[in-house]
Symmetry: C2
Subunit: 165 residues, 2 copies
DNA sequence: CCCCCTAATGATAATAATTCTCATTATCAT
DNA sequence: ATGATAATGAGAATTATTATCATTAGGGGG
């Protein structure tokens, strides 16, 4: 059972879980992208490789990997969840997000993580002590308008746009 | 048209929107709590005050207030959105969240915002410049186990619990 | 205070994402 | 290779949220 991802393979085996084709394919897809794929996105990519794999299995697998802590599930404000493999499998490190509220573009950023990392760590420790939490992870999202959407807005901007119902 | 919230009242009027009973009630509910209410939670509270108000109006109002920037919509990982009034109406300031992934308890924290605020600001500025974004808001969530859930876990913890499918 | 325009609403149907069910299949320890 | 059973595929079911549309009520002008 050749698997492109020895790290992920081991984690599954360590939990007594089986290495199935669906899991292999999904892990491969996730490890090859830095995009933020929805379950449906992943389903279509999976079915391009093996059309016999079902949608439910994609959901089940994403949920499993999320519960195992190998995948992080995000909500960026459109109706659907997005998934991303966590460091350990892909080599690029933990990062935060910049989200355009208009066109839904998502930017991963790892800049400034030096200072940021330090403060996050400090905050985590202090919060853990103060609120008696065992902190496992965090999510940091900045929301705004990307360059494109910002300039588009400058033109036709009647106060606040279509706000009424 | 007495309204418990002059600030909110003005914002609505300024946009040419009507001050309806549903809006008044919902704004009042939101301004009286620091909980993280779902649309359904709010619907039941609303109907305790005026049972003739419909669920759709609750959704519409929450969406309107969110688009106006008076309410922030959150996803804490359970299937439903949660809503919180933004500073300006309630007097307590912007805050971040600590979420227990087991019992779903949510803690608002405003501790450490001094250092945090500074870094957030710095990060925002740097990101705005680097990625040409006009940043409007951010969300910071820490996930982990609260004290209760942590100690419960210590007892019966077969490796990783019910992980399989 | 009354009228009128129309934004806003209530009831309910419709959507869309996600989860569940159950018969069948495939993984893997033996 | 075989058996126990974890995992799957297909599709039904569930659930949160949104759309539709006839009716109501907010509020400016008289
Ligand atoms: Mn990312
Ligand atoms: Mn909060
Ligand atoms: Zn954009
Ligand atoms: Zn807890």
């Amino acid at each position: 059972m050749r698997c492109g991802n020895p790290w992920a393979h081991q984690r599954l085996v360590a939990e007594g879980l089986r290495i199935t084709e669906a899991r292999r394919i999904i892990l491969n897809i996730l490890s090859k992208t830095s995009k933020h794929l929805s379950a449906e996105d992943i389903y279509f990519l999976v079915r391009g490789i093996n059309p016999s794999i079902g949608f439910a299995t994609v959901y089940r697998t994403l949920d499993l990997l999320t519960r195992m802590g190998m995948v992080q599930k995000f909500d960026f404000g459109d109706g659907k969840a997005r998934y991303e493999l966590i460091e350990g499998s892909r080599k690029d490190a933990h990062h935060h997000h910049l989200v355009c509220t208009k066109c839904r573009k998502i930017v991963n950023y790892t800049d400034f993580v030096d200072e940021e990392k330090e403060l996050i760590k400090k905050t985590e420790d202090a919060l853990a002590k103060k609120h008696r939490f065992d902190i496992k992870s965090h999510i940091i999202h900045f929301y705004g308008l990307c360059e494109t959407c910002r300039s588009e807005d400058k033109n036709h901007n009647p106060s606040l746009g279509k706000l009424s119902m």
